[in-house]
């Protein structure tokens, strides 16, 4: 007749009695373990009623409660600081680190905007030279890319800039034949200084005059001459005007395979935080948990023990007794355990959220505003001189 002992009314914790042994060697945990057994067993009705648990069940629940507390705590810390932690080395244990908010992730995200504007980012802009043939207006850049760049068949380029432009207007700035009517000679003639050297200017001109003159030259070229321009539709580059002689046309492009690659580059051999699962928080040190936390842990241990006891008493719906069957209170235990666990976790999360950076700052701001209102009600002294 096998007799499986149940809780006899006392217990004695030894390291190794918990399933994982996370806290077995922490003095406070060892001291509290047996106290928790006493507390929970009495809450469950002992010594008036038997509690069909063994000390190992109580210890497992206690360890579970501490771990759950740590999980909730550090999950909150991860949520609070993930933007600052993402990308940092995983080697650092963050349990005792003060996390200073930074812009690392924000900058990493915004770099991509700069990348599209050609002012930053992580995708290289390559320079290419497209051969231009006299009399040929259309050029197939896909063919050029595959032949000249040796691109993989599955890769593509995206042209960022095409250097097929007219001579800059500034070149014609002093050109008396530019036809803009604003040549330097004309100006000097207007003032009666035509007999002076054109290189000598006695009049200080505003910068806007130069800009307007340049715009006039550009407009003149655009209207009166064959303006340099291009169309890039699909893979076909059409240039205007039709080149009169052969040469090269430079372009800047990126490889789509590089832009599409979302993997950030880190120093070789260094593992970095890439998701919430590898943020390096460890199980808490029980000795450092304050009385507020421990009280929560005790209550959660009780809820877990109710759950265990509920499962034990509920393995069989009906328990045989002599000449009859009886139903135990497994249903009540499981219902209570579920609701209590949920309420405890909710309470803990609310408590953590109330201490989040944003909430604390809001409270601080409200406090400052209230202080200002209060101080504003203080009568101003009147000085009579």
């Amino acid at each position: 007749m096998a007799v499986i002992p149940i809780y006899p009314g006392s217990s004695s914790f030894f390291p190794g009695d918990t399933p994982f042994g996370f806290y077995d060697n922490q003095i406070d945990f060892q001291v509290d373990a047996d106290k928790v057994v006493t507390y929970v067993s009495r809450r469950l009705g002992y010594p008036i009623m038997d509690v069909e648990l063994q000390d190992l069940n109580f210890y497992a629940a206690f360890e579970d409660a501490v771990t759950t507390y740590g999980n909730e705590l550090y999950a909150y810390k991860v949520r609070e600081n993930y933007l600052s932690i993402e990308g940092s080395p995983t080697a650092s244990n963050l349990n005792h680190e003060l996390i200073t908010p930074n812009f690392a992730s924000v900058v990493r995200y915004t770099e991509q905007y700069g990348e599209e504007a050609g002012t930053g980012g992580t995708t290289t802009w390559y320079t290419g030279s497209v051969p231009v043939t006299a009399g040929q207006q259309d050029y197939d850049l896909k063919t050029w890319a595959s032949e000249s760049l040796g691109l993989d068949n599955k890769d593509f380029i995206e042209v960022k800039r095409i250097f097929y432009e007219a001579t800059p207007a500034i070149v014609k700035f002093f050109d008396p034949y530019a036809g803009t009517g604003t040549g330097m000679v004309n100006m000097m003639d207007t003032f009666g200084w035509g007999n002076y050297s054109p290189a000598i200017n006695f009049v200080m001109m505003p910068l806007s005059f130069d800009m307007q003159k340049i715009q006039a030259i550009e407009m003149s070229d655009q209207v009166r001459r064959s303006q340099y321009s291009f169309e890039l539709i699909n893979n076909n580059l059409r240039i205007f005007p039709i080149p009169q002689r052969s040469g090269s046309m430079h372009i800047q492009y990126i490889k789509l395979s590089e832009r599409n690659n979302p993997i950030s580059k880190y120093p070789e051999g260094q593992y970095n935080v890439t998701n919430v699962s590898n943020v390096n928080y460890c199980n808490p040190d029980y000795c450092e948990i304050n009385s507020i936390g421990r009280s929560w842990i005790f209550d959660y241990t009780l809820a877990v023990c109710k759950e265990i006891l509920g499962y034990i008493r509920g393995k069989y719906t009906q328990v045989p007794i002599p000449g009859a069957e009886t139903t135990l209170n497994q249903s009540d235990l499981l219902t209570a355990a579920t609701s209590e666990k949920e309420a405890l976790v909710t309470r803990l999360r609310e408590y953590f959220d109330e201490t989040s950076r944003s909430n604390l700052l809001a409270v601080k701001a409200a406090e400052a505003e209230s202080l200002q209102k209060i101080e504003a009600a203080v009568p101003y002294p009147i000085y009579i001189g």
Binding site: V3, D50, V319, G323, T326
Partner: protein, 191 residues
């Protein structure tokens, strides 16, 4: 191999039953075992002279009580009222009598007398048919080498013979001839 009704489960059931019977409900009775070898019988198998019983053993039990009745007979008004005593079988398997240190098995039998609330009840029927998951671990269907042709070598660890139920009828005290001073109540159960 059986899956349900293992020794661990049964151990809990035993604990639940004992908690109910010993600590919560707490109904007790005393069992007088009939000493057949010391009782002289006539040619009809009836007790010719005095009946002899073992010293009473106090046991925890669950009791069903039928209503009392007073039937009329040729001899006058009689008194009747049966009781059903339900014993946890494991309780009967570990009884130490009178602090002797000897632990034995109590087997109620037809003819035994149960003393309950100063009344005597004679067992006229025993029911031994409450098997959890339909198995009695005392019958594991094994040979001496623990061999079972289906490979169920662990049937001794499954199932549970829960109870012995004694159906009794009321017996006037003068018929059993048990005097009260012979009652001994220093029986204890061995968990």
């Amino acid at each position: 191999m059986a899956l349900f009704g293992g020794a661990r489960d049964v151990s809990m059931f035993r604990g639940i039953s004992r908690e109910l019977m010993w600590d919560v409900i707490v109904q007790e009775c005393a069992l007088y075992k009939f000493r057949l070898e010391e009782t002289n019988v006539n040619i009809y198998g009836e007790a010719a002279e005095e009946k002899y019983y073992e010293a009473p053993m106090l046991l925890n039990t669950l009791i069903d009580r039928q209503d009392q009745s007073t039937p009329n007979s040729d001899l006058g008004i009689d008194f009747a009222g049966g009781r059903t005593f339900k014993f946890l079988r494991d309780d009967l398997a570990g009884v130490e009598a009178n602090g002797s240190g000897k632990i034995g098995v109590v087997v109620p039998e037809v003819g035994d007398i149960i003393w309950y609330e100063n009344g005597y009840y004679e067992i006229y029927n025993l029911i031994n048919n409450q098997l959890f998951v339909g198995k009695d671990p005392n019958y594991p269907n094994q040979d001496d080498n623990n061999y079972n042709p289906y490979g169920n070598s662990d049937l001794a660890n499954f199932g549970y013979d829960v109870s012995i139920i004694a159906e009794t009828h009321y017996v006037p005290a003068d018929r059993v001839g048990i005097s009260e001073e012979r009652l001994i109540s220093s029986i204890k159960h061995v968990k």
